[in-house]
């Protein structure tokens, strides 16, 4: 039987990695990821998981070792955040181009400077073109579930791509929640042992990571792009199977609120739950606003988003990172470019908020709604909550 327990979300992630029977874990500590890898090293030390824990000397080496281990045929996990993810930058792109099914938790944290350990999405946004499948969890249960599903998706022979599971630093990583921890036996059925298509094997020598001359580089990139786009169908399949097996349903995007509401919030990550509660305040006066929560960030679920935004007059996009020197935050930029395909385009309001761990309350979301209703900041972005002259 699955057991429901009160557990810190980071420990639940470690539990998920254990249940997934990861074979090599290469990690370097960084707040707020530390609890995950500390717990995993304890699990391995206790002999509860048959795995090699490589306490690497940097995140650059964490991702490099992850690549080596995955290429040698092991199921591989790592976790990082912020500066650590940035230090991995170079190698992240190689992991996806080598088509290695590595799973990584990103405990989202702001980037220096100024140095800040608190939550926003500037780390992952700087890596959004890394060619990985990227999903966001909104609470501990989601992150637990997504972590196990991530291995299944990554290792599917139609996909063979690394997956990053994003969870908001502190707000999720350090929260104690009530989580349904699934049984090993059921997880084993859902996620059979990893059988690599190709691996570094002296009986069948292959060369991995050769020089890409101009005659083949574009083809290699095209293949990678096609694989990422086509992973969407597999992700849906895996979500469906998970729902059947474990009773918790996931979609590429989640929607809630009154269908006829013409104002739509778009969020990614844990602020989705704050907006959910803000809708209760906003909708006291009628069916004013609804909400779309992006779960799958890459590949971008354009079709699903366009369908969900049908009938919307105003779209309020919540960003958690600044895309310096452009006209929107990273999520809003993509939403707007997507909306260009519609004949009747809703207005876009972009609030970049919660930078460096600044709290955003449901009251504040209500204010954003009111600004949008008044048409203020139409087709513009605002860095929310900046204190002036105090």
């Amino acid at each position: 039987m699955a057991k429901r327990i009160g557990i810190e979300n980071s420990l639940a992630v470690a539990e998920a990695v254990k249940l997934a029977r990861a074979e090599v874990i290469a990690a370097y500590p960084i707040t707020p990821q530390t609890h995950i890898v500390e717990e995993l090293s304890q699990i391995v030390a206790n002999g509860e998981l048959e795995a090699e824990f490589i306490p690497v000397e940097s995140e650059h080496s964490a991702m490099s070792a992850a690549i080596g281990a995955s290429a040698a045929g092991a199921r591989v996990y790592t976790a990082t955040a912020s500066q650590g993810l940035a230090l991995m930058h170079e190698i992240l792109f190689i992991a996806s181009s080598l088509r290695l099914p590595i799973v990584m938790t990103v405990a989202n944290r702001s980037l220096s400077g100024p140095i800040s350990i608190w939550n926003d999405h500037s780390d992952v946004m700087a890596e959004r073109d890394m060619g990985w499948i990227q999903v966001f969890g909104e609470n501990g249960q989601e992150v637990f579930d997504l972590t196990i599903m991530a291995f299944r998706i990554a290792e599917d022979k139609r996909v063979l791509l690394p997956v990053a599971v994003n969870m908001d630093g502190f707000i999720l990583t350090h929260m104690i929640e009530s989580i349904e921890i699934e049984e090993q036996e059921k997880i084993d059925k859902f996620l059979p042992p990893y059988k690599p298509v190709l691996r570094l094997d002296p009986a069948h020598p292959i060369s991995m990571g050769p020089v890409g001359v101009p005659e083949i580089y574009a083809e290699a990139k095209k293949q990678q792009e096609v694989a990422l786009l086509e992973s969407k169908a597999v992700i849906k399949e895996v979500f469906k199977e998970w729902a059947e097996q474990f009773g918790r349903a996931y979609n590429l995007i989640e929607t809630n609120g009154p269908e006829q509401a013409e104002v739509v919030f778009i969020t990614m990550g844990s602020l989705g739950e704050t907006v959910m509660s803000a809708l209760d305040l906003i909708n006291v006066q009628g069916d004013k606003a609804r909400q779309v929560r992006i779960r799958l960030w890459r590949p971008f679920p354009e079709e699903e988003l366009l369908a969900a935004l049908e009938g919307a007059k105003k779209v309020i996009v919540i960003d958690r990172a600044v895309s310096f020197g452009t006209s929107y935050g990273p999520v809003a930029g993509e939403i707007r470019s997507m909306l260009y395909k519609l004949k009747e385009q809703p207005e876009v309001y972009n609030f970049i908020c919660g930078l460096g761990g600044r709290d955003v309350t449901r009251q504040e979301f209500k204010q954003m709604y009111e600004l949008a209703e008044q048409g203020q900041y139409k087709d513009k972005y605002l860095i929310w909550g900046v204190r002036e002259n105090d």
């Binding site: 000397e57 940097s58 092991a74």
Partner: protein
């Protein structure tokens, strides 16, 4: 206390003949690096997985859809060969433990001097310190050759490179060569050695020893580069031999902490004989050569003392 390393010795009679790096690669004439790498692979044999850093060797052996590699090979980036090898080794270890593979192949990381002494030093140190059972081979051609002969911290004093050019205010490389073999030895790993393709049996037996020990091993191989050193391709081996005989690149090994000189020549030849075959040193004045001579001699004596311990 000395511990014996048990290994299958290579002699002129039983020298492995199977080339694991095929001919037709794109190396320059007289390339000492690919020659040495081929020797390492012959000694290691086909049951070997290679992690190769970015650099000349990766470039000349792997232009897709061709490959010169007959053993499994992976290239990831420039500075991380040791980390990639760590991951491979860890994976093999657990896969064997779980019964998913029968035996554990050798794991060898190859990197140039730049990929070792400079940008890859941290990853190397980490992998050595963690005790992975693998061999790291630094193919030392004393500069960043792949990108056009820029200096590295392994470039010898006085050498002209494209970023340590001699000029009115410069004698070329103004620093002494970093001694990465000693840095590796400071990690207290089971086996460290220097080697030279001019002494192929010595080189291959060092590889055998390195693979025989349990834990990390490091071998630094002197690798003449006619293109970068402005030397004659047909003189690569002669230059490599002189580097040893003059004490510029002494051959030694460190077995479980015990230093041992592995070259016959103890009476050093003058460094000038070595320097004059390479145009990278042609701008040097008599006093520069004297300076190099003194320092080479002093370093050699220091090494001899270490070997007496």
């Amino acid at each position: 206390m000395t511990r014996e390393i048990n290994f299958e010795k290579i002699t002129a009679k039983n020298i492995p003949t199977e080339s694991l790096i095929s001919c037709g690669h794109r190396g320059c004439q007289g390339c000492g690096e690919v020659l040495a790498m081929g020797m390492v692979m012959k000694a290691a044999g086909p049951n070997t997985i290679v992690a190769n850093a970015t650099g000349c060797m990766e470039i000349i052996t792997s232009p897709f859809p061709q490959t010169a590699w007959k053993t499994p090979w992976i290239h990831v980036a420039f500075e991380n060969a040791a980390a990639v090898a760590s991951g491979i080794e860890a994976a093999l270890k657990i896969l064997k433990k779980k019964g998913q593979i029968k035996d554990k192949p050798n794991v060898i990381a190859f990197a140039g001097d730049g990929g070792t002494a400079d940008i890859g030093l941290q990853a190397l140190s980490g992998a050595l310190e963690r005790g992975h059972n693998f061999l790291y081979v630094c193919l030392d051609n004393e500069a960043y050759m792949n990108t056009g002969i820029q200096r590295s911290s392994s470039t010898p004093f006085g050498a002209s490179t494209t970023t340590s050019p001699p000029g009115k205010k410069s004698k070329g490389q103004c620093t002494w060569k970093k001694n990465v073999a000693m840095i590796a030895a400071a990690h207290d790993i089971p086996y460290v050695a220097t080697a030279s393709p001019a002494y192929h049996l010595d080189l291959m037996n060092k590889v055998r020893k390195a693979l025989a020990v349990e834990g990390p091993a490091y071998i630094q191989i002197y690798s003449p580069c006619p293109t970068g050193w402005k030397s004659k391709p047909e003189q690569s081996i002669e230059i490599a031999r002189l580097a040893v005989q003059t004490g510029v690149f002494p051959l030694f090994e460190v077995e479980y902490g015990k230093f041992k000189l592995t070259q016959k020549t103890k009476e050093l030849k003058p460094v000038e004989q070595y320097l004059k075959l390479q145009k990278r040193f042609r701008h040097l004045q008599e006093e520069d050569i004297a300076y190099i001579q003194d320092k080479v001699k002093a370093n050699f004596e220091k090494l001899q003392k270490l070997c007496e311990l």
